[in-house]
Amino acid sequence: MSRDSALVSADWAEKYLGAPGIVFVEVDEDTTAYDTGHIPGAVKLDWKSDLQDPVRRDFVNQQQFEALLSERGIGNGDQVVLYGGNNNWFAAYAYWYFKLYGHGDLKLLDGGRKKWELGNRPLVTDPVSRTATSYRAQTQDQSIRAFRDEVIAAIGAKNLVDVRSPDEYAGRLLAPAHLPQEQAQRAGHIPTALSVPWSKAANEDGTFKSDDELRQLYGGAGLDGSKSTIAYCRIGERSSHTWFVLRELLGHSDVKNYDGSWTEYGSLVGVPVALGDEPGDPPSN
């Protein structure tokens, strides 16, 4: 993968609005954002009600995902262009999620809603309806999804990248600072995890930094390119942003997103936790 195959610019997107075979999809944390104005023709995905199982903590299953995309009018052959607020966190999360279920032609809109809005590009409130399709998903590609046991086994063996803010990594904050801090789980990070906040990979307008800057960022942080990598954050959406950078932009081959992330790890009984600004050592047996 590379920048050309995974990313499109706002200028490109504006040129191809309404083009057949291209579906713009908005995915936000603030799910009311779409209703206040969206890219013309874009359909909405609610990261919570559409993409999460309503009872268990897990994703919708293959059949539910098929039903969702069919209903939204997304076909297997369509090029899906994802964008959203929060510097594309949830759009990157949806990108990773669409990959998990094997969608072929996927792009992320560089800069997401922010770049689009600050550039005074058109946003409309018109309802969008597309003809239903018969979407067929693949079984989940587990090569890009990490579960907790694999994460614990990776301590001291693989690259672990904590992409939350420095204060969350150190244990001074329990959640990103736009959310209340009362949380059930313990504070801190997985021992040996490198701290590379997702925001270091993005410019102020939400676009990704250049490949050279990104290579320097992760190299400088001590990411060993010869090892496999697992990225995590609090609930798996910011780490999708970093997963996208490492695998889709920089072309690293074995990168997984741990969607359980800190809300799961920080609630596990008996696992090692490191506090403070340093990665910390693996626990001695």
């Binding site: 922010k114 809005e117 600050l118 420095p166 204060d167 600072a177 801090q181 009362e182 906040p197 270091k200």
Partner: protein
């Protein structure tokens, strides 16, 4: 809690807090983004940077220009980006409510 219609010339009006927020424990940083003409700026992107200048969070202002963060006691920088211009402000926050006004300049 009621929301007042905010005029940027008036004293700082912060975003209403959910009833579940405990101000004994939370460090809330809140305020309004105003334009040079004194009008509230809705849809502005406000970022919270930590004491080292590192990004911590970002929110979009309400139609009344309001923003709100849940931080920790310490030194923070706010930076607003909008179609009407940008602004920066530095503050030292303590537990409870910390109010900041941001005036953007094109």
């Amino acid at each position: 809690m009621t929301t007042n219609s905010v005029g940027c010339g008036a004293p700082v009006q912060s975003a209403p807090l959910p009833a579940s927020v405990d101000l004994e424990k939370e460090t809330v940083i809140t305020g309004v983004v105003c334009s040079g003409e004194g009008d509230p700026v809705g849809g502005a992107y406000v970022r919270l940077l930590d004491a080292t200048g590192e990004f911590t969070a970002e929110v979009v202002t309400s139609p009344e220009g309001q923003f709100r963060f849940f931080a920790a006691p310490g030194t923070w920088t706010l930076r607003a980006l909008s179609r009407a211009g940008n602004a920066d402000a530095k503050l030292t926050a303590g537990r409870g409510l910390n109010e900041v006004a941001l005036s953007v300049i094109a």
